[in-house]
């Protein structure tokens, strides 16, 4: 999915990036991606697809073997100081300084990124993350969820324009997760661009403006979430029959129908993009066949269904 040149609203531009490890394993293949200023971009993909490698490459943890990346116009290799100063990273693993206090480690991060001490800002960040009462606690005494918040506080301490959240919800309970996503929305509203990976697809569905799907190091889809769901989403019409059927009648064989094992539910799958869904014609055909129904209901595919279907299609093509 190459895009020729980044436009002025692009804050992160990834051009032809590839990563091949010394052993020959190709973790990223010719990735082209533009992240728009102020958006929430969700990067989805199965385990080992290359999500973390892509994030690591942008953040300087991994050196790309081809291509180049710019953050707000600054090349992440040649002009790494300016580029890295714009980026905050919350890693997937809970890497923390176990013996340090929350206050010390967050202030350390701000200094490391070249910013002068700002106790008022750090206090606000810790309060936003419900960490203020833990500020003097050693990190080793905190729960997994609290450690995750500390990592977010560290990443926010230098006021990044671009924030990477690599599986931020992993190991976090429901309440903390909701707090976290509320903070993510606040950050986006304040102008921070957010790129997240998650296994909770409903979160991507709920939060993201755009979705990217990566598989075996290749970016197979990048699309506006609403467009993706409209284009690839499918609806189902389930009809509860008055009398069980032994099989779908031959006269209805041209319709994409599935009959449940008990013969009492007939399911019709249709494309949401088509102007004519074919429902009216189907109902008429059922009536002409003397098949009565007592109830009908429709359901729409979730992002998870779309994701599974995309990855499955790619597997089949491979």
């Amino acid at each position: 999915m190459p895009s020729p040149t980044p436009n002025r609203d692009t804050i992160l531009s990834i051009r032809g990036v590839g990563k091949t490890y010394a052993g020959g394993f190709q973790a990223l293949k010719n990735i082209h991606l533009d992240i728009q200023r102020g958006e929430i971009f969700a990067l989805l993909g199965p385990n080992g697809a290359g999500k973390t490698t892509l994030i690591s490459t942008v953040c300087g943890l991994t050196t790309p073997t081809e291509g180049h990346i710019t953050a707000d116009g600054h090349d992440v290799v040649r002009d790494y100081r300016r580029a890295r100063g714009l980026i905050g990273l919350v890693p997937q693993e809970l890497h923390t300084d176990a013996f340090e206090t929350v206050w010390a480690t967050v202030n350390f991060s701000r200094g490391l990124f070249g910013k002068a001490p700002n106790p008022a800002l750090i206090e606000q960040i810790l309060k936003d993350l419900s960490l203020w009462d833990k500020k003097d606690n050693k990190i080793m005494t905190l729960s997994g969820g609290m450690k995750r918040r500390v990592l977010i506080a560290k990443a926010l301490s230098h006021e990044p324009k671009i924030l990477f959240l690599d599986e931020p919800s992993a190991g976090v309970d429901v309440e903390l997760r909701h707090d976290m996503w509320r903070l993510v929305r606040q950050l986006r509203d304040a102008g921070t661009t957010i790129i997240l990976t998650t296994h909770y697809i409903e979160e991507a569905e709920d939060m993201a403006d755009r979705i990217g799907v990566i598989r075996k190091g290749e970016l197979i889809v990048v699309e506006d979430k609403a467009v993706l769901m409209r284009q690839l989403g499918r609806k189902e019409l389930a009809l509860s029959l008055q009398q069980p059927l032994a099989a779908v009648p031959d006269a209805l064989a041209s319709w994409p129908l599935a009959l449940s094992a008990d013969g009492l539910t007939l399911t019709y799958t249709f494309d949401t993009c088509n102007e004519d869904t074919g429902i009216a014609e189907l109902l008429a055909a059922l009536q002409s066949q003397g098949i009565g129904y007592k109830d009908l209901r429709t359901s729409e595919s979730s992002l998870e269904d779309i994701f599974v279907s995309l990855v499955h299609e790619q597997k089949a093509e491979a």
Binding site: S56, R81, R84, H95, N107, R110
Partner: protein
């Protein structure tokens, strides 16, 4: 862009806090260990040993013992400082920060060298309680100590980058540095050795360090002070070159 001063200060303070948080292990233990040498070899046995080159034996071994402690502590402090983030995974933050290799060195090696110099001062003050000594060239002594601890902190930093286990961190200080220091004239002048051991000793780099420091204390040395200083400068330059190469290539730190 100029020096990332805030980053250097952040790393330096972080490392110094670590030392003071573990003060018993980082500061008291090496001072006590070295003091025991002063008590046993200086006060108890030293009085029966006579003098070497006109210097009382208890006072003669002070530069060697000081060097023994500073070399192992400099390596240990600096190697541990950079190995811990590698071990715990927090090095991701250092690698993704807008810092260059010089700033990283100023922070980590600067803190490790500060700790070593603090330790050296405490050891010298403690030695005063057990053994009378004088310092002929105090300015030179401070300069030579600074050069030595910075060089060995750089060396320790390289070991920390290279090591992938706690055992490897300990291998060089325990199996290389300590024997070289004991055999490098810490307790004797190499001029007292018969040939060929006198010549063999000249291949021991620690001989030049102890000799240089002893000259600063008592104005006498096994090898010329210019040679000692030159050897230490060469060693420091080699270490700087290795660190520069590691950060340039990302060897063992970047994937």
């Amino acid at each position: 862009m100029g020096l990332n001063f805030h980053a250097v200060r952040a790393i330096y303070r972080f490392e110094m806090n670590r030392a003071f948080r573990t003060w018993a292990q980082s500061i008291i233990a090496p001072v006590l260990t070295t003091s025991l040498y002063f008590i046993v070899f200086g006060s108890a046995i030293g009085s029966r040993m006579g003098d070497i080159g006109g210097v009382d034996y208890g006072a003669y071994i002070i530069p060697g013992l000081l060097m023994l402690s500073l070399l192992s502590e400099s390596i240990s402090n600096a190697s541990f400082g950079i190995y811990m983030p590698k071990w715990s995974g927090t090095i991701y933050e250092l690698l993704s920060a807008p810092v260059n290799w010089v700033e990283v060195l100023l922070g980590y090696v600067g803190a490790a060298a500060s700790k070593s110099l603090l330790l050296g001062t405490l050891i010298l003050l403690t030695a005063r309680a057990f053994v009378p000594y004088s310092i002929a060239h105090p300015v030179w002594m401070v300069g030579f100590l600074l050069l030595t601890v910075v060089s060995f902190c750089l060396f320790g930093f390289i070991i920390g980058l290279w090591a992938d286990s706690f055992q490897k961190l300990q291998v060089v200080p325990l199996l290389v540095i300590t024997p070289l220091t004991f055999l490098g004239g810490a307790f004797y002048s190499i001029n007292m050795l018969p040939e060929p051991w006198q010549t063999v000793s000249l291949f021991n780099p620690v001989v030049y360090l102890i000799s240089g420091l002893r000259w600063a204390f008592y104005g006498q040395a096994d090898v010329h002070i210019a040679v000692s200083t030159g050897m230490t400068l060469v060693f420091m330059s080699a270490c700087l070159g290795v660190v520069w190469w590691v950060f340039k290539t990302g060897h063992r730190i970047r994937r």
